[in-house]
Structure formats: C-alpha cells, structure tokens
C-alpha cells in the first residue's frame, strides 16, 4: 500500500475556486504562472509557504464555485500531495481526478488536526494522526480507471493509440 507523510495546511468550509485561483489570474499563460496567486484572497502568504509533499486539510464543500480546472492544477503545481476534506463540489472533484490530484474524503480530521502538524496517509485505507486512525472511503471503479491511467489525457491517448 502506498504511504506518505506530509505537513498540514488547514482551511475551513466552502473554499471556493475563486479563492483557490482568482479569475484575474486565469488568463496567465501557464498554471505555473498562476500558482503563486493560489489562495491569495483568503491567505496571500500561503502559496509561498506550501512545500512539495504538503497536504491540505479542509472542511465541507471544498472547490465549490466555478468550473476552472486551474483550481486543482494550481494545487498540484504548488506541490500539494493530497487534499483531505469533509466533502467536495462536483466539478472540482471531476477536474481533480482527471488531473490525477488525490482527493480524500474524511469527516472528522479537519476538526482534530492542527496546522503545521504532520499526518500519514495510507492510500485507499486510512489516515494516521497523533496515534488515531481515520478511515478513508474508496472511489468508484470508473474513477479509479482514470486515476490508474494517469489522468484523463493519458486515458484518451490510450484510446487514440498514442501510448499503450
């Protein structure tokens, strides 16, 4: 089982896509150009502090709002290893899976964890924090297929015979 440990950045409920990446930066050429502005309306300092392998923990309805796929892409570009939230908005959820960003649903971790603490994720199984284990539910098969292909672009490349 894949396992990783990372430092937590703690956010609240209803973190919308305008917070994750404001509209004014969406016409920048690449997601890398946008990444420094991630979360800027809520926490302007955050993007510069996030390090590869860090984990975002949040409350309910993470990623609500617009369809901008730059939202999961910016989070990925910042090096975030996974997002753990109580629930996700539907477009963000699909976009994240299609881009291979690991999303985990857990109802209680956000109430217990402190920002800056480390947590360990056992992918598809559980989260460990301060000796306590938090269960993770599994994804539907059709989504696992996309994740296993390495995202939707790769799945389509297979369809078109570009890659095996």
């Amino acid at each position: 089982m894949e396992q990783f440990t990372g430092k937590v950045w703690l956010l609240g409920d209803d973190i919308d896509t305008d917070i994750i990446i404001p509209t004014e930066y969406l016409a920048l050429k690449t997601v890398k150009d946008m990444a420094p502005y991630g979360f800027s309306p809520l926490r302007p300092e955050l993007a510069a502090k996030i390090r590869p392998g860090d984990i975002i923990v949040a409350g309910k309805n993470f990623g609500c709002g617009s369809s901008r796929e730059q939202a999961p892409e910016v989070i990925k570009a910042l090096g975030v290893r996974a997002v753990i939230a109580r629930s996700y908005a539907r477009i963000f959820f699909r976009n994240a899976i299609n881009n291979g960003l690991l999303l985990i649903e857990n109802d209680t971790l956000c109430n217990d964890v402190k920002e800056g603490d480390e947590i360990t994720v056992n992918v598809g199984d559980s989260i460990e924090y301060k000796g306590k284990t938090y269960p993770i539910s599994a994804l539907p098969d059709n989504l696992l297929d996309i994740l296993e292909a390495g995202g939707l672009v790769k799945a389509m490349q297979k369809l078109n015979g570009i890659i095996k």
């Binding site: 369809s67 995202g151 078109n160």
Partner: protein, 434 residues
C-alpha cells in the same frame, strides 16, 4: 416506480427504458459550449490527447464573453487561439461579441428541451430552464467530448422543489432561488438534480426560470430542471411539445431524495450577504442589523453604516442570472423619472446583444441612463471581476449576479450583496440598502 425528470432525460438520451439514480452511464452529447477564458486549454488538451477532428463541429459552440471587450494584455490571445481553433476544426457556431454564453445557448436555439449539454462554465446549469440537462465541466473533459461525443455521468438523486401560489409584489424568482440556497446551504444539493414544479413556477416566464436554474450550482447541484411547457416551446421556437417532451416531468411516485414545499406568499426580498452565497437574509433583517451598529463605523463584512443602514457605493444589474429584458424593465420601473444617489455608480450590463437592442427599442435603456446608469456592452462584465467596476476595501456593491465570493469584484475586503434587480435598483436610488 415512476421516474424523476432527470432520469427521463438520461433514459431517452441513451435509448434505455429507464435509468435510476446512482447508475453510471455514458451519454451522447447533443451540444457543447466553450467560452473564451478556457479555449486555449481545451485546444491544448484536445491536441495532447491525439484527436485530429471534432466529433461533430456543428454541435460545438464557442462564445467570447468573459474577455470582451478585452481588458488585460493577455486577453486577446484567447480570441486568437479561439479563431485558430475554429478555422482548423471547422467550428462555425462562434459568437465574438453577442453576449453571455448562457444567455446565447438557449436564446440562439442551440439547446432544446430534453437535450444533454455540457459547457466549460459552472453556470451551464442555466439551460435546465427549458428542460435540458446541462452542467459545467473542466477543459480536459471538454476536450474528451470534442473527440468522442460522449461523457460518463452518474445519474443524480433528485430534490423536488414544489412552489405554489402567487408571489408578493416586488418579489422575484431571484428571491426564491436565494431563499432555497439559504435553506439547502452551499453544498445541500451537491451531486444532485433540483426539479422545480408548482403553480408559481408554471406562471413564471422562461427568463425567470433561467435565473433559478442558473443559481442551482450555488448549492452544489448538478442541474436545475423545469418541465418544458408551451412557453418553453415558444421560447425555443418549437412547434409545440412532441410526445417525448410532454413526458418530461417528475412522476409523483418517483424516488425523490428530498421534497421541499414552499408557499409563494411566504417569500420576501432577500440578499446573499458578504461573502457566502448561502448567507441569506431578508433585506429587512440586513437593515435592522445595520441599524443596531454604530453610525459612521466601518464594519468588516458589512460595510459603512450610514443613515441607519449600509451605504451602497455601486450597483450592478446584469449577468447570466439577471441581465434579461424583464430584469432591466423591473429596474427601470423602479428608477423611472428619478435619479440614483449622487455617489452611487450604477452599472447595467444586458446579457446579450438581442436583449440590449430590445431594451433600447422599448425605451428601457433610456430610462436607466436618464436615472444615472452606465450601460455597458453585453457580456460577463463585472460579474467575473475582470472589467469596469472593480471595487476596493470596505466598499459595498449590491449586485444581481450569482456569486459574492471573497475578492470576486475587486479586493478581498469588498462587500458584495446579491439581490434581485428590483432590490438592486431601490438600493441605487437610496444609496444604502433598502
């Protein structure tokens, strides 16, 4: 067991006798909409996937609305890439300055009742107003549809919303949908279909229904559906409803996840207060709370307390939520022969060129201009915070669009209140929330 409206649309689409909530199905896409802000990304992904032709260029619509007229140096690049994309792949349905995508998709006849449509914008849910399934997706999924003409969906559970009776004077479908979002909260309908029915809904214009479908995504919904009726047929240019379309209503014995019942008489003018779209309060409560705060103080998340209420610096009437002719007419009825408060900037943005011309022809725009409004070109305008009307710290805007997220119309300390065109126009006159 009967079926919900969405179950009937999906079953028809895939040629099945029935489908049920929870099924994962692959739908045949009737229409797709791509807008200017994401076209470069759609093109990149489409080509990266290895596709060389669009499954059906005639079912593809490209609309420039977020970035017209261009306001930042990077914006025109999107239009050049869009034009290049259309030339290369034979897309002929292109609108470069005709209005907001969600207005045009039904207004120009691209989406009909019973259709299955996807768009690169979250407010694609708007087309539920004519009884079509439509929802927002990202640019990678859009690229995969352009190549295959198909997409997987999970058939959603349905929340049925029954509304019966006659709305009080000055109360609109905007007040209804804001109230429902306040009751369901911002995630209350996540992954679900909202199905509206009842005598209040039957009496509504398609434009008023559009306002409600448009905002269903603000409580997380995958779609917000109305049954097509004679008004829908007329709006869509259909010669009545055919056998399939007359079946498009939720059955009484369908399996509903939740049923909400409202009486139209109970609705009142409401606002979504800064900075959550589900922070809904009656306008009277917003005023009462402001009156209890210190006169002259600047209260974060509220604004400047002045004259016993909240001072209003700017009013925005427009957007795919409330930029239609009846919205502009409702505002004009409030403002006719009067002047807005001298310090208020009133921005009016018709949702489409067609609406702009209708409002010009019937004198609505003249009434608004005479009252002090700045009338802007059709498009997304201030709603997405990219063009004229950006605000700064502690300023207050009363706006008729669909989102009051932190920082959406300027700095993160701007206070955005969402309301109906009638409430917005009243606030423009008074210069405070009334």
């Amino acid at each position: 067991m009967g079926s919900t409206l969405i179950e009937k649309i999906f079953a028809h689409n895939i040629g099945a006798d029935s489908v049920k909530a929870g099924d994962i199905i692959t739908v045949n896409v009737d229409r797709v909409m791509i807008h200017d802000i994401f076209i470069p990304f759609v093109k990149d992904k489409f080509e990266e996937m290895g596709f060389t032709k669009i499954w059906d260029p005639d079912k593809t619509v490209l609309i420039y609305d977020h970035l017209v007229p261009a306001s930042q140096l990077d914006d025109p690049r999107h239009h050049h890439i869009g034009d290049e994309f259309c030339d290369k792949y034979g897309v002929k349905n292109v609108h470069r300055s005709d209005g907001i995508c969600h207005q045009l998709m039904t207004e120009a006849g691209y989406v009909k009742p019973g259709d299955v449509a996807f768009g690169t914008d979250s407010h694609t849910v708007t087309y539920g107003c004519v009884g079509a399934f439509s929802t927002g997706i990202g640019y990678t999924e859009m690229a995969s549809i352009l190549g295959t003409g198909k997409l997987w969906v999970r058939v959603p559970e349905t929340i049925r919303v029954n509304i019966e009776g006659e709305l009080p004077e000055g109360v609109t479908s905007k007040d209804i949908i804001l109230t429902i979002i306040g009751d369901l909260r911002a995630d209350g309908a996540t992954y679900k279909s909202l199905e509206f029915a009842g005598s209040t809904v039957d009496a509504m214009s398609v434009a008023s229904r559009m306002t409600m479908s448009n905002m269903t995504v603000e409580c997380g919904a995958k779609c917000g559906l109305f049954s097509p009726d004679e008004k829908t047929a007329q709006y869509c240019g259909l010669d009545g409803l055919d056998d399939f379309l007359t079946t498009l209503h939720g059955d009484e014995d369908a399996n509903y996840a939740q049923v909400l019942n409202y009486r139209a008489e109970d609705f009142a003018p409401v606002m979504a207060c800064p900075s959550q779209v589900d922070k809904i309060k009656p306008v009277s409560q917003v005023i009462a709370e402001a009156a209890s705060l210190e006169e002259g103080s600047v209260v974060p998340g509220v604004g400047l307390i002045e004259g016993g209420s909240v001072r209003v610096d700017q009013v925005f009437i427009g957007s795919c939520t409330n930029g239609r002719l009846e919205d502009l007419q409702a505002a004009a009825a409030v403002l006719k022969g009067r002047q807005i408060a001298p310090f208020v900037k009133l921005i009016v943005t018709p949702a489409s060129r067609k609406i702009y011309r209708e409002a010009l022809a019937d004198g609505t725009l003249d009434i608004l201009a005479e009252a002090g409004a700045m009338i802007t070109t059709p498009g997304c305008g201030l709603c997405c915070g990219r063009t004229g009307g950006i605000l700064t710290d502690n300023e207050v805007v009363v706006a008729t669009n669909n989102r009051n997220f932190l920082g959406r119309m300027g700095t993160s300390k701007v206070n955005i209140y969402l309301a109906s065109p009638i409430t917005a126009a009243r606030c423009a006159l008074a210069g405070r929330i009334v």
